[in-house]
Symmetry: C2
Subunit: 505 residues, 2 copies
């Protein structure tokens, strides 16, 4: 089979989508379109593929090659308008009967299934007027060749345009939106939307900013095991694993291991990894597997040294997102409008008793040593926003009774503890505390909580050979992404979410 000039790939092609007609001998453009054979690394051509986002008026009248997906296609007489998409960017492409394209070629182009990947050669032309609905509004591509690289099946499980439509609009005019289960069942398609692309690029950024900041502060990254022999934090809500002829558990947090690293003199450590909770909670913010951003740090005299480092790390993340991910933030807000995320420097720190007082003033009845319910957390978030104009704050000095056994009691008021949560838009994203580093006190507190000492022996023994005072906390990555962007379900910020009812894909 002859290799068309300018193609440079020399791959076999056929014209399957419309083979009878287009193969006709009178088709003067028959070498200019078709279905490429599967790319199997046959050749290393020197053809350059231009990124769609780089197609601007500066490239006007240049001939370029582009690889993209058929986002939409619309045939109209002797013309076919395609929208070619590449990640968050797209451009209009025109195949029109003329010197380069025959009527068979236009028909071929019009019949390519949506989401198929194509290689297109075309001339960049300045558009007469702004092209609405495309990111590249000032140019269009006049197609001279088009080859299918990977053909999509004809029936898509969901339409990308439906998947990015704001929910409220759907209610108003009856246009289709896509429900969450359909999205998650067909996640490969759903992740192609501009909103999903933006959410997960930004989430990648959160991880980078978290680590960049901590490395700069002298922290060391650690890797902690996920298969563990004993459920260190009590034993409830833990997944069991068959381990050869025995059994083991999935770690509910890196708690024990990051503390062991402190006892092993690493001083300041962090880790990023999966955390497993066998909790049968079917809420907007619980997952059975999520990504923990964990910090643990030895301090000199006061756990506020650690609180300040953690709060500053989050502030550096917020600032970095503002600076580096403005496009992504704007893209998501088109589908999910929300107020920009506000924070103060230094971070607002309130004591638990102050929060209780604010809630009582707002009419809530609650005891001094009672934990915050989810609705009260939300309400408190609104009260704090009104009073201090911040979406991010720290709540310090929780009642000892509502915290885990390893939490250091307050030295002044024994009903309180050296523990804290951090909140974004009224929802908890971090829980942390000074930990007890004295094996004797740790034993007493475990006994007080009715914990079987035999099961946590290894944990307690870690502190017997000199342990520095230390504190830390664990951040839920998916929650940070969700709340920063003002989204409403943590499943939107987990690529492949796991909950009690969902294990696939």
């Amino acid at each position: 089979m002859p290799s068309a000039a300018g193609r440079g790939q020399g791959q076999d092609q056929d014209h399957r989508p419309d083979s009878k007609e287009s193969a006709a001998a009178d088709d003067y453009a028959k070498e200019r379109y078709g279905v490429s054979s599967m790319i199997q690394s046959q050749e290393k051509p020197d053809r350059v593929l231009i990124r769609i986002k780089d197609l601007t008026v500066e490239k006007a009248d240049e001939v370029v090659w582009v690889r993209g997906r058929i986002h939409t296609s619309r045939a109209k007489g002797k013309q076919c308008f395609l929208v070619l998409r590449q990640q968050q960017f797209n451009i209009q492409a025109l195949v029109a009967v003329g010197q380069h394209a025959s009527k068979q070629m236009v028909k071929f182009a019009a019949n390519i299934n949506k989401e198929s990947i194509v290689d297109v050669e075309g001339v960049v032309r300045k558009a007469y007027q702004k092209i609405g609905g495309c990111t590249q509004q000032d140019v269009e591509l006049h197609v001279q060749r088009i080859y299918v690289i990977s053909l999509a099946e004809p029936r898509l499980p969901l339409q990308l345009d439906d998947a990015v439509r704001p929910e409220v609009e759907g209610e108003e005019d009856g246009r289709a939106t896509v429900n969450q289960d359909t999205r998650l069942d067909n996640r490969v398609i759903d992740l192609r939307t501009s909103t999903s692309q933006a959410i997960f690029c930004l989430q990648s950024g959160i991880c980078q900013l978290f680590r960049e900041t901590l490395i700069r502060k002298g922290f060391v990254e650690i890797q902690t095991p996920k298969i563990i022999s004993a459920a260190s934090e009590g034993g409830a809500n833990v997944f069991t694993v068959s381990y050869f002829k025995s059994s083991a558990y999935l770690a509910q947090s890196p708690q024990l291991y990051k503390q062991m690293c402190i006892c092993a003199d690493f001083e300041k450590v962090f880790c990023v990894g999966p955390v497993f909770r066998a909790e049968d909670s079917n809420t907007h913010r619980h997952l059975t597997e999520f990504v923990g951003l964990d910090i643990e740090m030895a301090f000199n005299y006061h756990y506020h040294e650690v609180v300040d480092e953690i709060a500053d790390t989050l502030v550096q993340i917020f600032k970095g997102l503002q600076e580096r991910f403005q496009t992504e933030i704007q893209t998501v807000s088109k589908q999910f409008p929300c107020e920009p995320f506000k924070f103060l420097e230094p971070t607002l720190r309130l004591e638990y008793c102050e929060a209780v007082a604010m809630l009582r003033e707002a009419g809530v009845e609650m005891g001094d040593e009672e934990d915050l319910s989810t609705p009260n957390e939300k309400l408190l978030g609104r009260l704090v926003k009104e009073k201090y104009d911040t979406d991010f704050y720290i709540l310090d000095k929780y009642p000892l009774a509502v915290r885990p056994f390893y939490t250091m009691p307050d030295p002044v008021n024994p009903k309180n503890s050296n523990s804290y949560d951090m909140f974004m838009r009224g929802e908890e994203i971090l829980s942390g505390a000074q930990r007890i580093h004295d094996p004797q006190l740790l034993t007493e507190r475990a006994q007080h909580h009715g914990i079987d000492l035999e099961k946590i022996k290894a944990y307690i023994d870690s502190f017997r050979f000199g342990a520095p005072p230390h504190a830390g906390g664990g951040i839920g990555l998916e929650r940070v992404t969700m709340l920063y962007l003002g989204l409403h379900n943590v499943r939107q910020t987990s690529m492949f979410p796991r909950d009690p009812k969902r294990l696939t894909p």
Copy 2:
């Protein structure tokens, strides 16, 4: 109790280790030493603690506060010599009877258990001669106050000096070394050695360099689920998890998910996370849980585009380690001497058939489509090192028969495949390939391998709506650390290793 001037903490103290004698009324230094009460964040003193590594002759004659561990202590008449340690650094401290210290205070200091954490106030003095065995050789600390912050139990399960002794020396002179099980059973102590500190700081560096390089190359970090509903890669060697009323598996690799991200248009992705293998292999290089550094990337025409990116990423890691972790490399080589790691730019790439030819020339009998055994891998590593002077190379074009079903066959010779391994010092650290992106061919290859199509339906379906050609690979973090440093067991480079026989600590 009166607060000693300069202490500033106001903590209760007693003199437990030697209370009768030191509490005597005639002890003029009795406020200058003791056991501090547990640091419970009582106060925020403005005392500055100086890092031991910063104690140099520039600080001569300054009074400083230091927090460190008692590494060794040796009493000699009216003097006690302590070595104070902080991570990889240590300094000699002298407590001598005189203006600031009584004989009770010297005795107290001498009796503090090794590995206890102490706060010391002292004057930095220029040493008369180099102090052997300390990192701070030119100064010593003349102690004026000493308080125990966290007391270690008297009997250590292993001695740190034994744990850093080179093995060969132990054989020669009969001095003690520490065996691997004792180390791992008491990992918190073993991780305090200068060798362990250096290994894991360098390993943290490998992760940073891996991600820095890929982010610069335009990759996006993804998070893939570890609990999966179907064993995508066949079903052998997989751990089973109880999942509420059903069961699930632990992911043997992020393979399916990183490929799904490619099908979802993320184009270039990486992830760092745990990988689980229920393989009953008790070797120096197998773990049941290890950290995978995974890459997947869409390419334009040839999978070598991806091979080049991966190889360059590893080269950037090697260079970064050389530049930023020279101290750590030197520290490890004191205990485990080895040749510096050598690599070429661009990376050497050999074809599998060339390797077979080299092995045959060296006397090995093997078939063309036979996989490399571990001894042959090692031998090949030596042959390549002799011929090309590199510890790092790529072996390309493996026989199709020895690779997983999703490997793209070679377009020219159907017995070969578009797949590759990468080696460091003769051991495999990465396995990768161009993947089949065509659902029809993928189905055929799975059937050829006798795989139940029903079990991998979700996997195959991912490619039905347009999939770009792509390739990738997975790197074992612990192996990279081990082989870069010329160590001999992967358990040395896993903080808390998991193998068929070890699940603790």
